[in-house]
């Protein structure tokens, strides 16, 4: 107990070295993470400009990588998204994984959430996310994929979410606040396309 190292050693034994943290929602002002920095992406916006219900076809299966089953209907979205994720790049940030998710409720399944688009940002110079007229990369199909009417008139919510991966330590995820999320309704019939571009630009447009 007489040298610095044994004193430090005893202090360290009482520290909790492994602290799993998961931050589900970030408010407009951001949130304090355990390192004391604010995770506050700016200029968040997600703006869905159109939605189409595409009938099953080989081309649609290949486009959305459904190689192992043939869903009766695919939803195809077009959207714009912006996010200034530069504030997430702290000393310990290895990469930021940003994704657009679509959440809905359907008979028999109270919660469903699908990742429709994602990107990985590895350095701060690429951290200002701006995509325009992007399509969903991944298939938007339901668990009950044989039901062609499953998506008719369904209310969905599209959100931009992100996860921060560190060089060492815990991974933290957050999502855009609910008031910025794009809430819209899919077309009423398979084969139809609905455009949300009124004079304001789309669902979720002009919200900052």
């Amino acid at each position: 107990m007489h040298n610095l190292w044994s004193r430090v050693n005893i202090r360290l034994r009482f520290c909790d070295l492994l602290t799993p943290t998961h931050v589900p929602v970030v408010g407009p002002a951001g949130t304090k993470d355990p390192y004391g920095n604010l995770l506050a992406p700016l200029a968040l916006s997600l703006n869905v400009s159109s939605a189409t219900l595409v009938r099953r076809s080989r081309a649609a299966q290949y486009k959305y990588q459904s190689y192992f089953h043939a869903p009766a209907v695919f939803a195809a979205l077009q959207f714009d998204a912006t996010a200034d994720l530069r504030s997430l790049f702290q000393w310990n940030t290895k990469q930021v994984y940003a994704m657009v998710t679509v959440a809905y409720q359907a008979p028999g399944f109270p919660t469903n959430k699908i990742t429709v688009w994602d990107t990985i940002i590895t350095n701060i110079d690429d951290a200002r996310l701006m995509v325009a007229n992007a399509e969903n990369k991944y298939a938007i199909t339901d668990v009950q994929y044989r039901d062609a009417a499953r998506f008719n008139g369904l209310a969905v919510t599209a959100r931009l979410e992100w996860c921060v991966h560190t060089y060492v330590g815990a991974t933290r995820c957050a999502a855009m606040p609910d008031e910025l999320a794009a809430k819209f309704t899919l077309p009423a019939n398979v084969g139809e396309r609905v455009s949300y571009r009124g004079d304001r630009g789309g669902v979720g447009a002009n919200k900052v």
Partner: protein
């Protein structure tokens, strides 16, 4: 008296010391398993399918969360018929209402960040037609990680002679 003579009691003490070390290691490992609620609380990444987040040789700390798994979580799952667990990110989550004891609480779809398409090719490898995994196959969720620390395990698997050499060196130190 011959100074190099090792008597029976000292040998026994050495053996007991080694057993103590081995059993402490096992206790710590199993204790960690209980605390994190998963059978393998620490795993090593073997492939590049999650680059750039996790590369070969990284150590992952797993735990089994009490709350349901969510989109964006990175999980380690093990399929029947495959002996190597896979660490990928959850893309889709569907939660059914039928909640009797046998029913699956969630249907999950995963994909490695560095892979072009989702994991259905892997699911269907041993079980053709399998489109989803369930929390039953998930060993744990990744809470944090340490880079490169696990590379020793990979090297020892690729070169088994190294294991023998290391054990020999350890035994030499214990004498």
């Amino acid at each position: 008296m011959n100074p190099f003579a090792i008597n029976f009691r000292q040998t026994l003490l050495q053996v007991l010391n080694v057993l103590l070390i081995v059993s402490s290691a096992l206790m710590i490992w199993k204790g960690l398993s209980v605390w994190t609620n998963t059978e393998s609380p620490i795993v090593v990444v073997l492939t590049e399918s999650m680059e750039p987040a996790f590369g070969r040789g990284d150590l992952l700390f797993l735990g089994k969360p009490a709350s349901p798994l969510e989109v964006g979580d990175i999980v380690v799952y093990k399929l029947e018929g495959k002996d190597i667990p896979i660490v990928h990110r959850i893309l889709n989550v569907h939660t059914p209402t039928d909640q009797d004891d046998d029913a699956e609480p969630q249907y999950l779809l995963t994909k490695g960040d560095n892979n072009a398409s989702n994991d259905r090719a892997i699911y269907g490898d041993q079980q053709p037609g399998k489109l989803w995994i369930t929390p039953r196959e998930v060993l744990g969720k990744v809470y944090g990680y340490a880079p490169y620390v696990g590379y020793v395990t990979i090297v020892m698997n690729d070169y088994p002679q190294l294991k023998a050499v290391l054990l020999g060196a350890l035994a030499l130190f214990a004498l």
